[in-house]
Symmetry: C2
Subunit: 816 residues, 2 copies
Amino acid sequence: MSRVEKFTKQELLAVDAWWRANMYLSVGQIYLQENPLLRRPLSADDIKPRLLGHWGTSAGLGFIYAHLNRLIKKTGQSTIYIAGPGHGGPALVGASYLEGTYSDCFPKVTQDFSGMRRLFRQFSAPGGIPSHCSVTTPGSIHEGGELGYALSHAFGAAFDNPDLLVAAVVGDGEAETGPLEGSWKGISFLNPVHDGAVLPILHLNGAKIASPSVLSRKDPDEVTSLFEGHGYEVVWVEGDDLPWMHERFAAALAYCYDQIKDIQESARQGNWDGSRPIWPMIILRTPKGWTGPHQVDGKTVEGTWRAHQVPLSGVKQDPDHLKLLEEWMRSYKIEELFNEDGSPSELVESNNPEGDLRMSANPHANGGLLTKDLNLPDFKQYAVEVTPGSRASDRLESTRKLGEFLRDIYRDNPDNFRLFCPDETNSNRLGAVFDVSDRTFMERVNVIDEKLSPQGRVMEVLSEHNCHGWLDGYNLTGRHGMFASYEAFGMVSASMTMQAAKWLQEANALDWRAKVPSTNILLSSTCWRNDHNGFSHQAPELLQIVLNMRGEVGRIYLPPDANCLLAVSDHVFRTKNLVNLIVQDKQPQPQWLSMDEAIEHCNRGYGIWDWAGSDGLGDEDPDIIVACAGDVVTMEAVAAAEIVKTVCPQIKIRFVNVVNLTSLYRPKDHPSGMSTQHFKDLFTDDVDVIFAFHGYPGAIHQLVHGRPDADRFRARGFKEQGTTTTPFDMVVRNEIDRYHLVMDILNNAKRVPDNAIKLYRWCESQLARHQEYIVEHLEDMPEVRNWKLGSFEAPDLDANPNHSEAHVARPPLPDR
Amino acid sequence: MSRVEKFTKQELLAVDAWWRANMYLSVGQIYLQENPLLRRPLSADDIKPRLLGHWGTSAGLGFIYAHLNRLIKKTGQSTIYIAGPGHGGPALVGASYLEGTYSDCFPKVTQDFSGMRRLFRQFSAPGGIPSHCSVTTPGSIHEGGELGYALSHAFGAAFDNPDLLVAAVVGDGEAETGPLEGSWKGISFLNPVHDGAVLPILHLNGAKIASPSVLSRKDPDEVTSLFEGHGYEVVWVEGDDLPWMHERFAAALAYCYDQIKDIQESARQGNWDGSRPIWPMIILRTPKGWTGPHQVDGKTVEGTWRAHQVPLSGVKQDPDHLKLLEEWMRSYKIEELFNEDGSPSELVESNNPEGDLRMSANPHANGGLLTKDLNLPDFKQYAVEVTPGSRASDRLESTRKLGEFLRDIYRDNPDNFRLFCPDETNSNRLGAVFDVSDRTFMERVNVIDEKLSPQGRVMEVLSEHNCHGWLDGYNLTGRHGMFASYEAFGMVSASMTMQAAKWLQEANALDWRAKVPSTNILLSSTCWRNDHNGFSHQAPELLQIVLNMRGEVGRIYLPPDANCLLAVSDHVFRTKNLVNLIVQDKQPQPQWLSMDEAIEHCNRGYGIWDWAGSDGLGDEDPDIIVACAGDVVTMEAVAAAEIVKTVCPQIKIRFVNVVNLTSLYRPKDHPSGMSTQHFKDLFTDDVDVIFAFHGYPGAIHQLVHGRPDADRFRARGFKEQGTTTTPFDMVVRNEIDRYHLVMDILNNAKRVPDNAIKLYRWCESQLARHQEYIVEHLEDMPEVRNWKLGSFEAPDLDANPNHSEAHVARPPLPDR
């Protein structure tokens, strides 16, 4: 027997009325600026000057919503709604208006005549709301702009939310995108015991902007086969015959709900062999623009791409179209839907769930309401011991320390934290997490597998889109996480990072949106040490993208060592509504700062490293400033300064490291920006700065624009000069290695001693020797490979063999 | 009866020997720096110091290659090979070495002892080649770095190549990515008459870097169902039993070849009803690292993720591992594979196709060899007529003119040009192409459909990844095209654009790689006019990404009007090996330049528009320079200059427009960069510049770095301040509208007249009036909405109502 009672006649009437009210509001939002309740015949003046919005998908979205409401009322099931075709914003906005949530969030949009007028006028209008379902739509965790992420967001929301049902509508347009096609496999990672359920509803309304969709025109048997192949039980509902479509869809929903509950209850009672359940999904085929104008000007509109946006155009100018619009709107029988004062009728209201069960008011869709701070272990316990003397110690893999921190975060937050990574957790040296949680895997697990089980909660799938989308869904429902990727492949999901930032920026402007845990991204395996993979794996571009975000959302951290990485990580896990980008390599690297030093350094965001610069410089202006941001380039900068200090101690060097990149901005450009005084304290007014930067050097020019004498900043960085090479050769090719930096210092320092030219020539010869060495030995010269602070010994500059004939003198100013 | 004769014993021996030779070369590339033919027992000195590369997938890649060779020899079928799991570079490099192509391309890598030594040493080594299949791999059009694009590249190569077979190996790791999952539907767009065939070979080797793949662990019936759902006939080949696997795979290949030829011949003979054929595909299940070490240190390696990279580690240090390596290499029976001099044995050679039929030498995989210049109609025939007087005419949609040009390019190049667009061809005003070619669609076409047929050659699919990947495949096989997208969603495939640039940059360094048509990208529906869609549709970030490309590949054009768009488009279609980004809005816009003026302007890349600046300025230094790049901001800049010229004619304005953005770079930074003299001619040495820019303003700071007094450039641009609004309000919110620009001019001009303060106040009041107006009327003020050049009338500055109380004075310097 079903958990959902039979669909009664009264319920059918209520669902249908609710849907009609929703459709009426949808059409009104697209067309009307006045006369919202059609109290008088429509006139051209009632019509908005610009007709914008998407009608076509709205009808189906509202239909589904109406029926989910009825299911929720019957079952008390906590449910959120993901509108994949969220360009049908009118339906979702209208739904939350009917449920009263809209007025709760936007008190001026009241459930009466004036509120409805405001609802209509604000739609896709200045100072109003976008035509999509968006941040401003109560109940939404999914921007209806860039298509492709409905299902990955849905699964992200369901993880660790065992009592939640996520109804995810997928449009047949969106279904053509790669990210969406890649996200059906979410069920291969969804545990029926500790996760909630996702009910995908593929809405085949037949067309996109301008042409039919692929899935709507395939043989239906093929479509069934496709989704059975993904692992679903497919339930079809097709037609446009009313009221029978109501009957059929209600039955389909009830059936799917029963299947979901059967799966969950059985698994939770222990009757589960660990194999992946066959979860249900619905394929709903209804005409695009259902209930709208069937024909306009002799052309079929309903059921075609012509219904996509505004099916009746030129309404303000064309009396016939105006008449058609009025007929269309009146076809919903307004008098049954709204009371005299404009509030929803009792019949309509009777299809609204109560309180938090309203999908538009479900707290999971305003996840900040449910956010619990992480139980963060004391990050200092993972510290690498560093003393002034031990800065010269062996190299360590910094991200391993982060892995230990993440392990204990997993342990202490068993349902509030997840790591998302495309199959690279071990590769990125974060594998300690597997001590406390396996990789999640719902397909067959074999005896030879390690750290892999249905109970695991570490998310690995070879899909940056799934990883990012899952994290987004997890974050926006109030939980904490981190997406870790190879640096170059952070670009695969770059547009998702941008959209996440836009969401958070807009959310900041809405007081009813509670703040959610930040979008934390770790990029490891960076451009500078992807030697054997070559050029395709070298791209520090995501950093540039976060740099272009507004200061209220974007943060970039370039920790130079393990203790800084720990301090930065602890910080980002405490922040909300930010996009935090951390870039750090996974390879062994020198450890520079003690934990106390690291905390101070990271709190400030930048600092002078006296031990790396010239001795006894104090507050005196130096001859040159060597600055750096990024771990590998920091090592080169320290090594370069050491060479100069050893050979030409007369050159006074100030050494600056920047960990919070945006601290270089002016305060008016970014909240992390350092004051003019602090900037001068670091960089003086006029001393030349050699800046060794992890990313594209143009970013430094962008950052210091408007600072005193910005032209004196000579930035070196990644200039797409990568290839297959040894680790050190990578920096040589991009001319940001210690020898090139020494030459920069000698070229730009205020005062240079007599032996500078010899040192310059020695650097040239070292570069030439390097070239010869690596081709012969396939690895770097020992003095580079094994370098540690203090290991440099002054060379005999006069005994320098002439390797340098083939080399041109370094130009006096570094180019970008 | 099959077109492929029975697999003889002798062929089996040849295929097997070829494969073993290929495996031997693969292992050698990963491990050896000396002793390539094992003429003496392996010693630690023979082993490379760094062991890099991917063994796991190489065995399967070589197995498939060997069998394809046999098929080609039997049938003479022109075939190219796409290695989706291209991290198995050793197998593909080894294949082209065995075929002799490698020595043709790299004469030092001879087919003898010393050449083999070089082959091994260069692999994943300094100055050598990446561990992937890449640009340097003869026969490749597909970088084996970023996963996801194997099939979209394959289909792109097959379009309009009716005689070509593209064998596309898809790894089961790659198969998890969104872009790959979204690309199986290529057959819904592949015409059996005028296109070639794609044979996907899904290689289930079971694991990724660190864990099993989803598809390899699903119920095989589900997997079959999945691909039948995509529309394929699935042919399984499974096992590791030799020689039987040879028999089975040869039979499967022969069967698929027959099916493909049946489909093509039947369709080409006219026996085709237009429905989508059921194309064959192969699912090959073999162990990861097949034929490699089965167990190492007591742990199973073959068939697990442990075989992914280097299955035997520490070989230099561990004598047991060294011994295992030697046994492994000798297990391939070297003496049967290579002659005394190191050249391939006759048996191995006998499995090589001849000449251009070798997949490594197929000219389609070095597409520049086959590139024919486009038959370009004279673009001047689509010119908008503009005279100095008619600059004040009505606005036109510039991209419509491009649409007419594209229409005739389609007409005149029926098999050498395609437009790729995610369902937005009409939306972007390029719909004229449908006059000569339909949209391609192989699924069911209904009577109500328009411009849609299997014969169509305009590519629309709601997937930026497919569009970009198809274009890449089409370009790299030597044909011409354009990818058109909404500006914001150009970011969806941004990583593909970056990888395309890297490919072309590396190709430039290889003289044997013939140059191919450029990657042309048109971004329309830009951030400035995506008013109703709101914030999610506003992102000029791809421009920033192309800006960070090296000058030898990246080009950015911002045409201000239709004639410039035509001139730029004609140019980009004549270029090779570039990434050309064109950004232009689709909405009606003013037309500024006559065709002759446009040609001159675009040839130079920038220019002074005397008619927009102050009269009679000549060579005299102005008081202020107003510069702009981008169509919408150009309109605002022209309007701002007009206001100042009308009200404060004493302020001398020079007006500069930049169409080729990278011309602002210094010549040493970019080949398009303008000389210092030209820069001074435009921007003087010290006059302040107000720069109205289409993208993020930091880009301008990056571009002018190092120019005389770069700090005087005050850039305005997109600052993520977008929302849902009217067109003009969009520029107001980002403070780049005419009124803000006038205020900038007044704040920064060298000399300002007495009434400047009144004009400043008037601008403030206009902005306040604007705010009130749009909220009331939902559209822009008429004087803005209907503005044309010359329509501005001097206001009565003294009669100015006080709207401005709520406004703070503009700060003296524009922030970013």
